[in-house]
Symmetry: C2
Subunit: 226 residues, 2 copies
């Protein structure tokens, strides 16, 4: 149900508003603490309609994560596909692979730091701590794919196609440098005296990420300016 040729029916409107409300309430309260009554109230819908449209609370929760995976694939899919197809042979500090890596990290950071993803971030963080069926959906469709691609790029930039534990460690620490701005969001704002993470902040963060990555992987960043 991606696009509609005709106007959405009444039932579809209800379904979508319950789904949107569920995303907010699950993110705010966690699965267990979120009540179907609170979700229905936030959606301006009747509590019994959750059962009608989604079966039960658990399936509503899963549907929220499928929805997120759809959206992330829309946002990041083209970039991932392009990078996957342009992977260059393993050569130390190869500018082609270096550029792909910096593109990937920049795209990931821009997505992760956007307003739209702040709700998702809390949902995903909850799942990381206590993985359920929902985490499998997300890992297989998004997280694993990004991690695999990033790790491969790191390995090739270090001169090999086979991936070592060291490559994985480098890839994870790179992801950490992005994630921390979401995970420690409030602390970051306090620390920097920022009101929010807006375009200027995202720019400064991405610039710093690129400098860090270049240093860690001994990439000549001057050479990349084309």
């Amino acid at each position: 149900m991606i696009g509609h040729a005709t106007a959405p029916s009444r039932g579809e409107v209800t379904r979508e508003s319950i789904l949107a409300a569920a995303m907010e309430v699950f993110a705010r309260d966690g699965f267990r603490a979120a009540s179907t009554r609170a979700i229905a109230r936030a959606a301006n819908a009747n509590q019994a309609l959750i059962g009608y449209h989604f079966g039960n609370k658990q399936r509503l929760y899963l549907t929220v994560f499928e929805h997120i995976a759809d959206r992330v694939e829309t946002l990041l899919g083209p970039t991932l596909a392009r990078i996957e197809s342009e992977l260059a042979p393993p050569v130390d500090g190869d500018p082609a692979n270096a550029r792909l890596l910096l593109d990937l990290v920049s795209g990931f950071a821009a997505m992760l730091l956007s307003d739209e993803t702040s709700t998702w971030a809390r949902l995903i963080l909850n799942e990381q701590q206590r993985p359920s069926e929902a985490f499998d959906v997300l890992y297989q469709r998004v997280i694993g794919r990004v991690a695999r691609l990033l790790t491969q790029l790191v390995a090739r930039l270090r001169g090999r196609t086979d991936v070592t534990e060291e490559d994985r460690l480098i890839a994870i620490t790179i992801i950490g440098q992005v994630l921390v701005f979401r995970v420690a969001h409030a602390a970051v704002l306090r620390q920097f005296g920022w009101n929010d993470i807006g375009p200027r902040q995202v720019g400064a963060i991405i610039e710093r990420l690129q400098a860090n990555i270049a240093a860690i992987l001994a990439i000549d960043i001057e050479q990349l300016a084309s």
Copy 2:
């Protein structure tokens, strides 16, 4: 109630076992989803005794965090105090400050990744997403102090005493490289094929962190071997 000259009374034993069980169950399930019945069962105690010893569930939760803050200060306090007192003047890549920085990060990582603190880490991460009264205490007593110290060390290693936004960005990205192993726990285990983050893994992580930090701050790591 840190030490006892005499054997603990029966009531104290009950109190402590409820507290220990509460820490586990709150970490596993979160505040709301953790039931006093489950806590009592895990503590081999009667559910009504929670009311007797702690008043109510909320106060039991707060007591858990006070206990953690005490313990973290015991573990990390001496290291922090030593580093604070040994801060060297600002000189680019000064080996003295470099060693302090690597000590700080290693100590922080070792604590954050140890078995003992895995339960605490989950409690704190839960709080970070939906901060309550419990988080402020922890932030002011531990997290803020570590962040401030780390930022000062970064600034001095880059040749100044005043802290710039760039210094803060570097400090945050360093913290992110440690945090990610707890925050993205489920994804990390899958990506590496690890069953848990044990001593071997912690050693490899810390080694990689030090290499990354040395690269980012242009520290000559050979020069540090004393």
